[in-house]
């Protein structure tokens, strides 16, 4: 049973923590003279958005205080950013509630009414734990700032990279200058870093301090119905996909061209071709993997058969659309087929490898 005292205390603390942001919101509301006629006037759309954002922020702060919910508090903060009040994101007084709301929520949900009578811990032990936790968290904050600044420096270096190769410049500019491209680049880098660091630290911690129960928990969480997958099957599927991707890519590109769906400008067409080549390879990889799963794992599901059928139907449709194959024709022209195929494969791989080259340059692996 929850303790009423702890619930009241956490509610008071949450209100105190949210007070600065609430005070800003209320002062902003007080500064406005709202005229309903102006709100619905589209010429004053910015003013309307501003008022709506402040009102929204105030509502979310009140809800955050009542429910001790950090997500609602963050939404309230972002509402302030919408109206150009960026300083709320840089001042600790506005950011600390996000962290402390977590602590308050843990306390309010986990603290039992008579738990003080159930716990026996020495004062020195309690103090030692609290002090060591403060040290750990403080060190984590300082360390995260320094590690963050190193990574941010690396991101800035990536964004300021200058590529002379004409073919790569368009994509490089998209990734470094365009905010959307930069977001994709930085997002992928951070996710990659996060996943690698998480896996590495977990392995390291388990190696240093092995635990039978933790290992059993990890093993039990795995679905036991998953069939055995041969090693390196993903790599094999990728090689097969790479070998069959060029004709598909060529046929799709030709089809899009026939329907005038290809971008007209040079930069856009290059970017589109790169995107298309990656997309074709990814989709083929998935289809080939599903198809071969039936052979590898004796998977009786219809998905693998369906994926094979999709592949055949796709090939047939593309060839038919392009008029390369006419079922009514008596024979298929094979004139210069080798040269034709060579050109198709060369075009595809040169597009694909230029992407790989760019990634290596951006990561600082290749000059």
């Amino acid at each position: 049973m929850r303790s009423i005292y702890i619930t009241v205390a956490t509610s008071i603390v949450s209100a105190v923590l949210a007070f600065p942001l609430l005070a800003i919101s209320l002062s902003m509301i007080a500064g406005y003279t709202i005229d309903l006629k102006d709100i619905f006037d589209l010429r004053n759309i910015y003013s309307t958005i501003r008022i709506a954002s402040i009102l929204l922020s105030t509502i979310f702060i009140i809800l955050a205080v009542l429910t001790i919910n950090s997500i609602l508090y963050v939404i309230a903060l972002i509402s302030h950013v919408v109206i150009g009040n960026y300083e709320v994101l840089l001042s600790p007084i506005y950011l600390l509630p996000i962290i402390f709301y977590g602590l308050l929520k843990v306390l309010s949900e986990g603290w039992r009414r008579d738990q003080v009578k159930s716990i026996n811990i020495s004062i020195s032990g309690l103090l030692l734990t609290i002090v060591s936790l403060i040290v750990i968290i403080s060190s984590a904050i300082i360390l995260s700032y320094y590690i963050g600044s190193i990574i941010w420096g690396y991101i800035i270096a990536i964004r300021s990279i200058n590529i002379d190769v004409l073919v790569l410049r368009s994509l490089a500019d998209f990734l470094t200058i365009n905010p959307l491209g930069s977001t994709i680049l930085v997002g992928l880098s951070i996710v990659g870093f996060y996943v690698l660091f998480r896996e590495f630290t977990e392995i390291l911690v388990l190696y240093i301090n092995p635990s039978r129960q933790v290992a059993l928990n990890a093993l039990k969480s795995i679905d036991f119905d998953v069939p055995f997958k041969p090693p390196l099957s993903s790599l094999r599927n990728m090689i097969i996909s790479l070998s069959i991707a060029p004709p598909f890519y060529y046929l799709i590109a030709q089809t899009l061209d026939r329907f005038n769906l290809m971008p007209e400008s040079l930069v856009a067409s290059i970017l589109f071709k790169w995107l298309l080549s990656v997309l074709v390879l990814t989709i083929l990889w998935i289809i080939v993997s599903k198809l071969l799963t039936r052979l590898d794992e004796s998977d009786p599901s219809l998905l693998s058969i369906a994926s094979g059928l999709i592949l055949i139907l796709l090939l047939y449709s593309l060839v038919y659309i392009l008029g390369l194959w006419d079922p009514r024709a008596e024979s298929l022209s094979l004139e210069n087929a080798d040269l034709y195929l060579k050109r198709v494969i060369f075009n595809y791989y040169s597009t694909l490898f230029s992407i790989v080259e760019l990634i290596l340059i951006l990561l600082g692996v290749a000059p």
Binding site: Y86, L89, L90, N120, G148, I155, P179
Partner: protein, 442 residues
């Protein structure tokens, strides 16, 4: 790997904030990218701490203990967790697995704790002990970081404690029983025979044991021997048939608890008279066969058998009437094969629901000649009436008159089979049992 710790919904707030800060910088609105990235690194460092603390918590040394073995006493259960590493463990959400039929009288069923580095913490809780065998524990522990962003997989700390609680014998009831019984101490038959109490002296007859010669009389030139009073020894076997209906009622005053106390006090009374006593308990589809014993040993065996009654198996018992019949047949064959040839008082206590089927199986025992069966059927709706006022009690009795009539009718049917059945109230059960046993004493 990801099953070691998992993110909570609270982490979403921090991720949204960090993403917003980075996006604002990339869109050249504000220089907040570094802060956003620092928050992500902070999340990662926090995660490393939680993984480390989780492995430390999984390897923690846990000492379990309990104190209290008698019904009605505080049953103190303690788990001492000792962290031998330098890593502080915070925050751990503990919850104790315990049977729902046990009442906590001090402390809480869970707690939020911090485990100090190179230190110990004790979690204890106090139950109000009730008769039978109970399984308490283990402690379920879920680790969270101090801000609740990550949550570890649930760990089980400590062992499951198997606690056996003995019935409490009321002193008042014991004195009443002593008054009802013919005498205190060993029962005497008022006849000469084998025994330990001096009865009288008589003249020596050829064939008398030399050990019995009364030497003081020989000094007066009279050859006499001592005669001892023959001890009246009886064999009493308690057959207790427990079903779910015996578990319902006020805490510490359910039919099962009341019957346990009655059997304990009656067996103690018989033990003081040096009688042979034994018990067989059929509970939760399981047969608990006691060890027959005389005097104190027999009493201890009966108490141990009662304190082994497993509540959980009774509650989870899904056996039907056919299973009960099969078990009863097995019980009867056990009784026949394990009891001596001398006359036996078989004290059967069964619930109202099972009484008829029990009687129909047990009646065959009477044909063997050595068994005198006394069947006692507690009237369940009369339990716990001590807690209410006399007026309310009278009203309640009127309202439950039909149930009492039903009990009486079942008893009449059983009596027709030749078994001496009796519907008993909580107040007269002990005296009725003792009266029946004493009547059988030779």
């Amino acid at each position: 790997m990801s099953s070691i710790v998992s993110p909570t919904s609270r982490l979403m707030a921090l991720v949204i904030l960090a993403s917003s800060l980075i996006a604002l910088d990339l869109f050249m609105v504000a220089s907040t990218g570094l802060l956003g990235l620092a928050i992500i690194v902070f999340i990662l460092i926090l995660r490393v701490y939680v993984v480390l603390a989780q492995t430390v918590l999984a390897n923690i040394r846990v000492i379990t203990s309990y104190d209290g073995i008698r019904e009605g006493d505080p049953l103190k259960v303690a788990y001492t967790m000792c962290n031998e590493t330098v890593v502080p463990i915070a925050i751990v959400e503990l919850s104790l697995a315990y049977p729902e039929y046990l009442k906590i009288i001090e402390g809480s069923p869970g707690a939020l704790i911090l485990i100090p580095p190179r230190g110990c913490i004790t979690y204890k809780t106090v139950f109000l002990a009730r008769v039978g065998k109970h399984r308490i524990g283990p402690l379920r522990a879920v680790l969270r970081d101090p801000f609740g962003f990550f949550k570890g997989a649930e760990l089980k700390l400590g062992d499951i404690l198997e606690v056996s609680i003995r019935p409490r014998e009321g002193e008042v009831l014991r004195k009443i029983l002593l008054n009802i019984a013919r005498s205190t101490g060993l029962s005497k038959a008022r006849r000469a025979g084998e025994g330990s109490e001096f009865y009288f002296t008589r003249d020596y007859r050829p064939g008398d044991d030399l050990k019995r010669i009364y030497w003081k009389a020989l000094a007066k030139m009279r050859l006499a021997v001592r005669e001892y009073e023959r001890e009246s020894m009886i064999y009493t076997l308690f057959l207790l048939l427990i079903d779910k209906s015996m578990l319902y009622g006020p805490y510490l005053n359910t039919p099962l608890e009341h019957i346990s106390r009655i059997i304990a006090i009656v067996s103690r009374h018989l033990a003081e008279k040096n009688d042979w006593i034994n018990s067989i308990i059929l509970a939760g589809g399981r047969l608990q066969i006691g060890i027959p014993g005389r005097g104190r040993r027999g009493y201890v065996n009966i108490i141990n058998n009662i304190s082994s009654i497993d509540y959980m198996s009774i509650m989870n018992d899904r056996s039907d009437s056919e299973n009960l019949k099969a078990l009863l047949r097995s019980t009867i064959s056990t009784i026949v094969s394990t009891t001596p040839r001398s006359p036996i008082n078989l004290i059967v206590i069964a619930s109202l629901d099972n009484a008829t089927s029990v009687a129909s199986e047990l009646k065959h025992l009477q044909y063997l000649g050595k068994f005198t069966i006394h069947m006692f059927i507690p009237i369940p709706h009369l339990y716990g009436l001590e807690k209410i006022s006399p007026f309310e009690r009278a009203i309640y009795r009127i309202k439950t008159f039909s149930d009492t009539s039903r009990a009486q009718s079942i008893v009449r049917d059983i009596r027709r089979t030749g078994i001496r059945a009796l519907a008993v109230t909580p107040w007269d059960m002990a005296t009725r049992i003792i009266a029946r046993i004493e009547r059988m004493r030779v």
